[in-house]
């Protein structure tokens, strides 16, 4: 049953990969960032299906990015595959550690605590003057198994790398959604007590989701750091997290692909808004978000529609 979706996905992936050299460079760069961020959004989708919205996902994003940047600064490791995996692993470890605390929280308290955690990292980074404080620092251009492309070629190579990471992540996350742990997202959101009494720990289910979303966010951050070639503490600030939540809403939690489409659409809309109305692009973005929530719930995927039905039924 997933075969048709997988086929379409694989075709889209192949077309994007093959068509990239034909695209204008600015669009390749924009899509690189958009798809790197889409990995973070994918992680948020995993949490959101359980009804959890972290306002501090930038914590893992920044950790992934800084891991790459620090490797470039203090070690001779330059291979993009190694550094991206390192970024993802570092973020995963941090997610595992903070997960012991965070996994016990729900709803707004989950959001607030995750926000506090990311803001602590932000504070630490700002205090670290050797790393350039708020100015951040340069990220070394990586090599691809020893190959060091320059200029336009490097952008293309990075785009393919991001695309490859996205494809792997999409396949794995889709698999995860079909697994027991992944499919229990809606049961957990619906009725934690029942899940516990069926014999599985809700906290551990959520802990796992946190680790997966942390790894994805770390990978996204690592790729973004390679693409932008610069890291700064702003990556850990709460408005960065807010931006990811924003895209998640636009995308909806209905499917894996929505994260990618949503992220790309967001970057394009933002870029066009900045282009057309440099003084009022936040207004456009805010309106887009508001209109989506108010009038396009169907466009947000199946979870949202279900959430709404549930609420209508239980509303006073």
């Amino acid at each position: 049953m997933a075969s048709r979706g997988t086929l379409i996905g694989a075709a889209a992936f192949a077309i994007l990969a093959a068509g990239a050299p034909l695209l204008p460079q600015w669009l390749v760069s924009l899509s690189t960032i958009a798809f790197a961020n889409a990995l973070v959004v994918l992680g948020l989708v995993i949490l959101w299906r359980t009804g959890l919205v972290p306002f501090g996902q930038a914590l893992f994003y920044a950790i992934g990015a800084y891991a790459v940047a620090l490797l470039g600064r203090y070690t001779p490791v330059r291979d993009v595959f190694v550094v991206v995996i390192a970024g993802a692993v570092c973020a995963g470890i941090v997610a595992y550690l903070v997960g012991f605390l965070l996994a016990r929280y729900r709803e707004i308290f989950f959001a607030m605590l995750s926000l506090a955690m990311s803001m602590i990292l932000y504070g630490v980074l700002v205090k670290t003057e050797t790393l350039g404080s708020t100015d951040g620092f340069h990220v070394e251009a990586g090599s691809f198994f020893g190959w060091r492309p320059q200029g336009a070629m490097r952008n293309l190579a990075l785009f393919w790398l991001v695309l490859g990471c996205c494809a792997v992540a999409a396949v794995l996350v889709a698999r995860y959604f079909r697994s027991v742990a992944g499919a229990l997202a809606i049961p957990v959101r619906d009725n934690e007590i029942r899940v516990e009494f069926l014999g599985i720990s809700v906290d551990r289910l959520i802990h796992l989701k946190l680790v997966i979303s942390g790894i994805l966010a770390g990978m996204g951050g690592a790729l973004a750091a390679l693409a932008v070639q610069h890291v700064d503490p702003q990556m850990a600030y709460w408005t960065t997290s807010g931006g990811f939540v924003f895209v998640t809403i636009l995308a909806g939690a209905g499917s894996v692909a929505a994260a990618f489409v949503g992220s790309l659409a967001f970057e394009l809309v933002r870029s066009i808004a900045v282009d057309l109305l440099p003084g009022a692009w936040q207004l456009i973005l805010g309106s887009a978000l508001l209109l989506t929530i108010l009038f396009l719930p169907e466009g947000l995927g199946s979870l949202y529609a279900r959430l709404r039905r549930r609420k209508e039924e239980t509303a006073p």
Binding site: R178, V180, N191, R194, F197, G199, S201, E313
Partner: protein
Amino acid sequence: MSAILSVRDLEKTFGSVVAARDISLDVPAQQTVGIIGANGAGKTTFVNMITGHLSPSKGSILFEGNDITGLPSRTITRLGISRSFQVAQVFPSLTVTENMWAAAAIARGRDSIIARALTPLDTPEAKTEADAAMELFQITRYRDARAVTLPQGVRKLLDIAMAVAGSPRVLLLDEPTSGISIEEKFGLMDVVMSALKTRRITVLFVEHDMEIVGRFADRVLAFYDGTVIADERPETVLANPRVQTFISGTKPAGEGAVHA
């Protein structure tokens, strides 16, 4: 033969309030035990302690000879004690089939979260088991309905069917007929009890309706003021004057209301 479930000197206090005290009993395998008592008498507290929702303040619980006192509910479930709820606990936004799949899948897997993330939810075994359970509890015709839309009785059946999905040896039913009309009560209990009999499950059920207790229970525990005041065959317990005074209400207060 030895008891499948043994309780010794169980006590639960909330601050200065004593919710349950001095409860000691043994339940042999495949017995069906009815639990009666007025509201606040300690029935649900008792069920909650056995199933790990509450941790006892004192005393111990043995299941198949192992001490399970204070274990988390999910561990107790995995060991073989399941429960249903006074208000049916199902997943409202899923269909009946999906509810059963979730229950069957959770029950089957190993207790490792990583393993859970690698096993698909909809394995053929889980599907077969879900189908069988729906058949057994006669809810197959609702299989594609969302749980939130189900009539109360079906929702109760689904709740119990999900509890049975893990193949428990002991099942605790917390007021299986609450919220069900009088006409439907017996039908529901017939379905439930015959299903549980075929699975050879030891049952403890909390019930207000003395008629149902009389008909389905092999043995009755009467709770009053946090403890068990009678523990015998149904007809004996129901004839007990204190039970009649405090619980079943067939005898006015005053007669036999001598506090122990």
